[in-house]
Symmetry: C3
Subunit: 171 residues, 3 copies
């Protein structure tokens, strides 16, 4: 005879574990959505990856704030020129730490550009990235993405170091 209460406890444990796997997948997909959104010039789709008050901090160049800030970067002449000359924003699969309704991730982002004369691509930027995520209803959104070029400066090392702490540096 099977114990129904024990069955219920096993089921509840499994529901928690599946929810966590779904969270981790949703966060990885959020990161995988950035490149295709900006390289197709879809400003609203790129902005919607962020929370309304989300920040994209491209250290030390500029800090974009909110949906208008992020959409504005995509619609800007600088970005439009990049994608019309041939460009890929190529992001790697992140390391992710989830803590309830907050999460953090770390990965690399290439900014790669086409050179029609040399008939090849070149790497304009390779950055270390730290992502702060927040659950909003059924979805996850980016609260802050910090992006620093791996040019020997201490800042990208400090940022990636958070990934080696068990809490991911979350307070």
């Amino acid at each position: 005879m099977v114990d129904e209460t024990a069955l219920e406890a096993r089921l509840a444990a499994l529901e928690t574990r599946v929810r966590e796997l779904e969270d981790r997948d949703a966060l990885a997909q959020l990161v995988a959505s950035y490149g295709p959104a900006v390289d197709s010039g879809e400003a609203a789709a790129a902005a919607a990856l962020w929370a309304d008050d989300g920040v994209f901090d491209v250290v030390p160049y500029f800090e974009l704030v909110g949906h208008d800030g992020i959409a504005g970067m995509v619609d800007d002449d600088g970005h439009q020129s990049l994608i019309h000359n041939g460009c890929g924003h190529v992001l790697t699969a992140p390391k992710i730490v989830v803590d309830g309704d907050r999460a953090r991730g770390w990965n690399y982002a290439f900014n790669i550009r086409w050179d029609g004369e040399l008939d090849r691509f070149w790497i304009a930027r390779l950055s270390a990235n730290e992502w702060d995520f927040r659950r909003e209803g059924d979805a996850w959104r980016v609260v802050r993405r910090t992006n620093v070029n791996l040019d020997g400066d201490e800042r990208p090392r400090a940022l990636l170091r958070h990934s080696t702490e068990s809490s991911g540096g979350m307070a």
Copy 2:
């Protein structure tokens, strides 16, 4: 006292969610299998990622059809010369949308080549990729992969734009 009917409903809901997570993992693994198959010259393994009637459309250069078409590309002198001179087909983790027994994905693919004289690698191609998948029994297969160089042309932008539509552009 635990309600058995309620337990069964929770279990059924969980089975559906786990199946979806398994689908998403299987699709990501299909994409991750391409590079190692072609860079080791395993023509049959590369072909088996596609459905029997699958298509690999390398816009605007050529369109490979079916297992013979895809295996033929791997066995071809052009590809064999690439891998014997040093080459990596490096694909990123895709964004994926699943709809029952069909799915779509978008990612980036590098074609990277070794230059022994300069003692470094160079990027011959960086393409936007769209994948159409179909469930066949227990496995997923590629029905169509479209690959377009990110050289400033409108076509890669149009293709990546599908990823920003909720349906992924599936009819």
Copy 3:
């Protein structure tokens, strides 16, 4: 009336499937943790990805053995010079095969370096990687990582070929 024994069997099957998904995620996260650990210079964190007796075989240059060997590479002047001049160890999402308490994976690793004079990055190495993993308690660890430059040699092709065998070449 719901059959409790049937419910228990469905629950047990689901527990096995969720455990497998968790394993696959944990293994992918292990691989995603390497770059941020070494690019931030965190020697202990990098070493902890390996089992105590783990090996990192960088064919044909050197073979690092155990936590001391791996931490020593990170603390070494060569690696410290790389990261202080600007460098990224960028790894792709692996193909993974799990077999109980063992697993194998295959992916690509870039070694990318900053050139301040040319204001761009260049690709010093692109390697094929094979990973052997072992479950240790609740965690997975790397037992052996083999890394071979994709310079046209047969060795990286032989290594990637294992990924096309159903067993992943595990005995």
